[in-house]
Symmetry: C2
Subunit: 418 residues, 2 copies
């Protein structure tokens, strides 16, 4: 914990030196966006560190990847962050002593996180959302296909997914406008108006690093090399709009009004101490989805809701990334098996991460059984979200004396336009 | 036809002065991409015209929109091209006489089209594909839902669509690698290998101009102002992959291996003389989809296939854009009703445009009834596409002594990687 010498990092902080997640920020409202690394309560401004000549490793020499935020920089940056050990030793051996002894540079390059504006960490070319939790899939299936055959035969054979909307992916803290749209007909005419069933979905998402060329597939055993890191994600859903429009081409406007992600990309290397076995898959996956080592990560996930009428939030659900049936690497390899090209910054959501227990369900659709049951959070009763409700997702791994965390992924539902 | 004085435009050319479609090209392999306008057999290099100071209208003064190809330029450019009359008078009054009298500028700015590389005309942020032809929908419905109830109740109420994959949209002339993937199980195990059912889909697509802010909707009667123009589109499909994966979240890898568009964006203003009434909609659309004037465009569409074993192509289908049930403006307004933001350069496909006749079906799925019937093109028999087959889509409107055309949208299927 070399940086402890001059940067105090609380053991509960999400951002100790073991994490070093990547983000993009503006130190002042009129600054240009720049890449940074979270450390304790600070953001380390990588453009200042690079300008000071402190990054001199082979990958970094003469690279402008810290100076500009754009697609083409991301591939380099993700490689760097993926080789986290060398990045960390660079920080420990060069950056840290220099910073400690150079007050002017420290002043310029270490910015209090609560003073900066955090932006989307990447330019998202395409956003894909998977459907990888068996618990979520089974619950939805029981509700809509019936208890006899809740999970389709294809689900056990491939990681089902749909293309999502990239334009409406927003950074944590952005308000979500309640969508208007059509719902199932009442007396022969479709409902039209503000959605009556606005929901959250507890997800995580991979951010693509290098990516692949169109027409070439990524081998399953190399797939991890294409994951820059993970973020928290709330795939806001309007269930009434979604269920009316969804046959036969899948979710569209029921999802595309907003998707929130957390600002810090946590690398797989930072999560490696928390790797765990993925669930046994039966039937066994086809060869192109069979991994030499098939792993999940033990990331504790929480959903808190602050109802409009309360000052405080209530814990609504607890789940864990380890509940995924299809692994992150299987998702990525499957995505490219047809030759589809992934580009740096693409976002691959896991789908709602529900666990096996009643309090580990990752969306209100499951928690209220599509509005059949009412929930009470300290007396605030809900079937779906109301205007003013704020949803806060968080994720963390507990290490020995430190925490690897994702910060928060929050958003408040605000009223539809008139 | 002012430019006729020095640029010969054949009456069958797709690009008379009545068209002036927008594209992006490289005059030399190592040039930077730049915007251009097609005129006869030439491309007019707008960056050269702007550098020569010939664009001096209020919109163009000091604008760098002709010098750079990027998202932020597109909004300005689309406004300009949308106000086609003023653009045309600019070309007629300033550009044409200057060009005619200035051999050096003519040499620099008028490039033979067959010498240039045409690129994607826009940076596509998001790609959406609709399902707006009743004939296509009904045929698919009869095949997969049965003849009793082939079209879902929701279809008549809203323009059904799915999010597509933007990364794999390619320019006409790009080879399409046959995708690998899973198909329906045979003896209990899914098929895996090169798709056995590679198909084309005859479509057109709107390119978004200005777009809208997240959380705000575009009024149906202003929706045309948000369409920069149209291109031809081939939404290549692997039917075996698509049908196995598609329940419950819609098409994914069965589509995302490639989508081809034509290089020239033809504005709605150029198509205006060919506007025609849209079909009467019954039930009447909800108010947010009800237009003061509801129109389609009479664009003749053709599919030619050059089978691998032939030198020449055969006409495979003829259709027309006027067969759309949901209009382009209804598609766009519906897309934003939930607050989803459209960005300059977004691509909105119409879905397969089939007509009512047996020879007006826009894909092999319909033409061969999912492989039940074999087609013969001058003796080359096909159920689906084989390696080496080239598909050429074209579209045009016949005016009085001139043609407004879209050029071609072509692609050849090449073998899967081993």
């Amino acid at each position: 914990m070399a940086l402890k010498s001059f940067i105090e990092v609380h053991p509960d902080s999400h951002f100790p030196i073991q994490n070093l997640p990547y983000g993009v920020f503006k130190p002042q409202p009129n600054s240009s966006p720049r890449p940074g690394v979270a450390i304790g309560d600070y953001v380390l401004d990588l453009s200042e560190i690079a300008s000071a000549g402190l990054f001199d490793g082979p990958l970094l020499n003469n690279s402008d990847c810290f100076l500009q935020v754009r697609h083409s920089s991301l591939s380099t940056l993700s490689l760097l962050f993926r080789r986290r050990l060398s990045f960390r030793s660079q920080v420990e051996e060069t950056t840290e002593p220099t910073l400690r002894d150079n007050a002017a540079l420290r002043q310029k390059s270490l910015v209090p996180m609560n003073k900066v504006e955090l932006l989307l960490p990447v330019a998202i070319g395409d956003y894909t959302d998977f459907f990888s939790s068996i618990h979520h899939t089974r619950n939805c299936g029981i509700m809509f296909r019936g208890p006899q055959n809740p999970v389709g035969e294809n689900w056990y054979r491939l990681p089902i997914a749909y293309h999502g909307r990239a334009s409406s992916v927003v950074i944590s803290g952005t308000d979500i406008v309640r969508p208007r749209g059509q719902g199932h007909p009442i007396d022969g005419t479709p409902y039209f108006g503000p959605s009556l069933k606005v929901d959250f979905e507890l997800e995580m998402a991979s951010i693509v690093g290098p990516g692949n060329e169109l027409g070439k597939s990524v081998d399953i055993n190399n797939a991890a090399d294409h994951i820059f890191g993970l973020v928290m994600m709330n795939d806001w859903s309007a269930r009434d709009i979604q269920f009316w429009e969804t046959v036969p081409l899948g979710p569209f406007l029921g999802k595309s009004f907003g998707t929130t992600i957390s600002p810090w990309v946590v690398t797989l290397e930072a999560l490696e101490p928390f790797a765990c076995d993925a669930p046994k898959q039966d039937p066994p996956p086809l060869p192109y989805l069979t991994e030499k080592v098939s792993k999940n990560y033990d990331v504790s996930l929480e959903v808190h809701v602050k109802p409009a009428e309360h000052k405080d939030s209530s814990l609504v659900a607890r789940s864990n990334l380890k509940h995924l049936y299809w692994t992150l690497t299987q998702q990525l390899a499957h995505h490219t098996i047809n030759g589809c090209n992934l580009r740096p910054g693409d976002l691959l959501g896991t789908g709602t991460i529900s666990g096996p227990d009643p309090d580990s369900l990752g969306c209100l659709l499951e928690l209220t059984w599509n509005g059949e049951k009412e929930l009470s959070w300290n007396g605030a009763t809900r079937k779906y979200l109301e205007d003013g409700d704020e949803v806060i997702l968080s994720g963390y791994c507990k290490g020995d004396g430190y925490t690897i965390g994702f910060g928060t992924c929050s958003g408040k539902v605000v009223p539809s336009p008139q």
